[in-house]
């Protein structure tokens, strides 16, 4: 548990540098306060690269999507891709940053085989946006923590080519050279590895939601560099070290923890921290030195003379604001208020939506779980629809080892099934229980609605009218006569249970209903069957249900 015993009051040092700490200390490193800042490099979800019209596709065969400019051929010049500025501005607005009216591009020089021009075009002197914040919550040892992590700046820059190392030689793939990157630099506001992980998770979700990036850390479309230092609460911030190229949240947290311990070990033994850039060895779960401050290269930043300053007007900012997709928090609020869905429904729908593809160039998401839900819910009960989707559809797909995709069961078909169940042409689950996804409450009943759904998943793309299919598969629900027959059969078959029920044991009624559903192959209406069985067995009508 975090101890509050060592809280101190904020106090600024005389020189004005930040050195305060109001935090309590963590039991893992009592008496020490870690300070963490993160630089996130994320690939902007644009179809084409930042300064060339080559397509940004990094999975294609090597050196296939390369323009003359990307390969730094003589005589080529950069032409800015507006979509990248749009998405950068969207990000700045979503984080509450101030978008600068004027920003400019600079060249950062160093020689390396993955940098064809010998320089990277970035924004060193005057970035796209500064300021802003991201609210981050995380739970550590059952205590919930929340903090606003401030953003230092957001800038646009080129990505390098991809190097693959082999013994004796290196292969260079220029598909990625010149792709658009956004660098989001945070202030050193984080105080624990868990908070850092939560920050990256939260930022990633935001970037995906607004369409700025697909935030795929495995593919490398989101990479982190972390700055870590430690200090005793109330004293100046300590010397920081940078850990480069962390590609998983878990790795990030382990690296930070390892680095904190390393700093504390050194400082505790009276040594000082050398300002270094370090890498992270995943296998040994520790950081290692890449280069010291003295070895740091001089990048010789020079304003790029080919690129005029980027001028951004208030009109343009309003235009971007107007086109901004809703944030996850807004969507959740709408599902709760407008559709009156339960929190569990919302969680499931949001998690289905979150994994859908992020479209390019900031276009609207189509064919995702939420637009599917909206379509089916048109003119129907939202909660009913949510239940069918989160329960039966997801369940049916999971049974087949598939994840949700709107093509699997067209919205119109699902809508039809739901309508037919409501009208009684198909059987579904009792409508009472639609307030919650009820698969956990009752044993799965073989309803004909669900059976039809599963059948449609097996054989999609049928041009056969649904009605005909229902009859062909003999799924149409039984009328009252048919029901009577099934009930009588059930009572005969399970005479022991029937006898028990006649004596007043109503719990066993479920088994009889189940038998009715089984023999009718789900075509009987469970609720009607229950009513009829009670009647037949001479039991009073159930007052709890109505």
């Amino acid at each position: 548990m975090l101890s509050r015993a060592s809280c101190r009051v904020a106090r600024l040092s005389p020189s004005g540098t930040r050195s305060y700490s109001v935090e309590a200390t963590d039991e893992r490193w009592p008496g020490w306060q870690p300070v963490i800042g993160i630089e996130v490099h994320t690939q902007i979800r644009a179809r084409r690269k930042l300064f060339s019209d080559a397509v940004a596709n990094f999975d294609a065969r090597p050196n296939w999507h390369v323009s003359s400019f990307d390969a730094a051929f003589p005589g080529t010049l950069p032409v800015l891709n507006k979509a990248c500025v749009d998405l950068g501005t969207r990000t700045a607005l979503a984080l509450g940053s101030q978008v600068h009216e004027r920003s400019s591009f600079d060249r950062k020089h160093y020689f390396y085989a993955d940098l064809p021009a010998g320089y990277q075009i970035t924004q060193h002197y005057s970035p796209l946006a500064t300021g802003g914040k991201l609210h981050v919550t995380h739970t550590h040892k059952q205590v919930k923590h929340g903090r606003d992590v401030r953003i230092h700046q957001i800038q646009l820059e080129q990505d390098t080519a991809k190097s693959t190392y082999h013994p004796g030689h290196t292969l260079i793939d220029l598909n990625r050279a010149g792709a658009a990157l956004m660098e989001i630099v945070s202030e050193p506001d984080m105080r624990s590895p868990e908070e850092a992980g939560a920050y990256v998770t939260e930022l990633r979700a935001l970037l995906r939601a607004i369409g700025a990036s697909n935030g795929n850390m495995d593919e490398g479309s989101l990479r982190c560099d972390v700055n870590v230092s430690v200090h005793r609460p109330g004293e100046y911030f300590g010397t920081r070290c940078e850990i480069k190229n962390l590609n998983t949240i878990k790795g990030l947290q382990i690296a930070i923890t390892s680095e904190i311990r390393r700093h504390i070990a050194l400082l505790s033994s009276g040594q000082s921290i050398a300002q270094e850039t370090r890498g992270f060895d995943e296998d040994r779960a520790e950081t290692f030195k890449l280069r010291s401050k003295e070895d740091a290269p001089d990048y010789r930043y020079m304003p790029d003379p080919n690129l005029p300053p980027l001028m951004i007007s208030q009109d343009y900012i309003q235009h971007i604001k107007a086109g901004m997709p809703p944030l996850p928090s807004d969507i959740r609020q709408r599902l709760a208020e407008q559709h009156k869905l339960s929190e569990r429904h919302i969680d499931v729908l949001m998690s289905m939506w979150e994994v859908s593809d992020v479209p390019f160039d900031g276009e609207r998401r189509e064919n995702d779980a939420l637009s599917y839900f909206e379509e089916v819910a048109q003119g129907r009960s939202s909660r009913l629809v949510a239940n069918w989707i989160t329960n039966d559809l997801v369940g049916g797909l999971a049974y087949r080892g598939e994840t949700f995709s709107p093509e699997r069961l067209p919205a119109a078909h699902l809508g039809l099934i739901i309508d037919m169940v409501q009208m009684g042409d198909l059987t579904g689950l009792p409508s009472l229980l639609f307030s919650e996804p009820c698969s956990l409450l009752l044993p799965p009943l073989a309803t004909s609605g669900r059976a039809l759904l599963r059948r449609l998943l097996e054989e999609p793309c049928t041009s056969e009218p649904l009605s005909a299919m229902i009859d062909r598969l003999n799924l149409r629900s039984t009328g009252a006569d048919g029901l009577q027959q099934f009930c009588e059969t059930a009572i005969t078959r399970l005479h022991v249970e029937a006898e028990s029920a006649r004596k007043g044991n109503t719990k066993v009624l479920k088994r009889l209903v189940g038998e009715v559903m089984k023999t009718s192959k789900g075509r009987a209406d469970a609720q009607a069957a229950a009513v009829m069985l009670r009647e037949m067995l001479g039991l009073p009508a159930d007052e709890t249900k109505s």
């Binding site: 003359s68 390969a71 730094a72 051929f73 003589p74 005589g75 080529t76 010049l77 950069p78 032409v79 800015l80 060249r107 020089h109 020689f111 390396y112 085989a113 064809p116 021009a117 010998g118 320089y119 004796g168 260079i172 001089d298 010789r300 930043y301 020079m302 003379p305 080919n306 690129l307 005029p308």
Partner: protein, 442 residues
Amino acid sequence: LCVAVKDNLCSYWLPTTAGSLALSNFHSPYNSTPLRLLLRAHAHLLGKTNMDEFGMGSFGVHSASGPVQNPRWEGRVAGGSSSGSAAAVAGGLCDVALGTDTGGSIRLPASYCSIYGLKPSSGLISRHGLISYADSLDTVGLLARSVRVLQRTFGIVNEWDEKDPTSAPKEVREAAAQQARERLQELGQGVTGLRVGVPAEFCPSELSASALAPLRTALRALRAQGAHLIPVRLPSTPYALSAYYVLASAEASSNLARYDGVRYGFRGAVAREEERGDTARMYARMRTAALGGEVRKRLLLGTYALTADAFDNYFLQAQRVRKLVKNDFDTVFRAPNVLSFPPSAALPGPNEQGVDVLLHASAIGPAPRMEDVQKQAGRELDAYVQDVLSVPASLAGVPALSVPVSGEGEGEGSVGVSVVGQWGWDELVMRVGEVIGDKIDD
């Protein structure tokens, strides 16, 4: 039109070497825009012309393909860096040649070879396909034996290009052209009422007597035809040369970083054992072999100027000087500089105290002898001093035309006369050139 193209403008069918060993085997996958426009207009491409390596040189002797002889003045250098283009035109091999001018590389060889050399306003002719030396200074231009051919060729290549981010937008071109047209109408067919500025700072102590004679001839001719001669001052001129070399070298160190032989061009011998895993050493060895001495010198100086310690004192300071030089021109010219105003703003009226054009000598003297240059008989800085008169117009991005004017007592080579105008006033500059220039070709 038969056209020769300087070898730093990319061509698809012929090699593009930029006068360097680094690109000796390079075939560009595309045509530079100026060449493409000329070919579209059915011009005939004669070939690619020799040049100082990557545009760095004033005499035309720093080329991997050897020095260029001056066809008009035997035994003398042709000037650089558009040495081959000037020689091809002066020698009658073609009608017009494409050249490039970063600090005087068209005007100086034009002056040495006694032909017309135009450095247009910056941003008018597309730089797409021009191998960059210093992007903020590089300008594609033309060399010919008559103003009429210059005008005709200029009309073909003077177009906005979406592939060049520094290509002047159409509204801006139109705004300046509109003003220039009105003034040309006022002047009628000739130059009556033309206000000609003679800047005092463009007669430095290095200037030889032979450089002043053609200038005097030109001024007398203009005055005889009704022009007014006005002495003017451009006080920042003495600082321009230093600022130019700092900026040009710094930008060159950036633009030439790509020549490592990995993706194209000269690669040299395979990596040695001790270079494994050390990209920097391999690059250093290759680039030392592939790039000539003059280029290496400027790259090293340019790299230094960009280092963290030196940046403020050299690069930034040079940018400040550049701004002063630009302001000097804007102060003396009658017409406002349309680049200084936002697109929607109304332009102010003309400054009646200002001048329409400036006239000055194109070079400090005639072309030096080839043997003197190759033996480096002069002082080491002589080569750089040649540019002192041409760099101010380069820093300001204003149009400048070197005109062949026969002076008295011409024995050992000529010196041209430069006509400089406000940004976008290329037509007026060419008209003045037509009035004062020798008729070599008709």
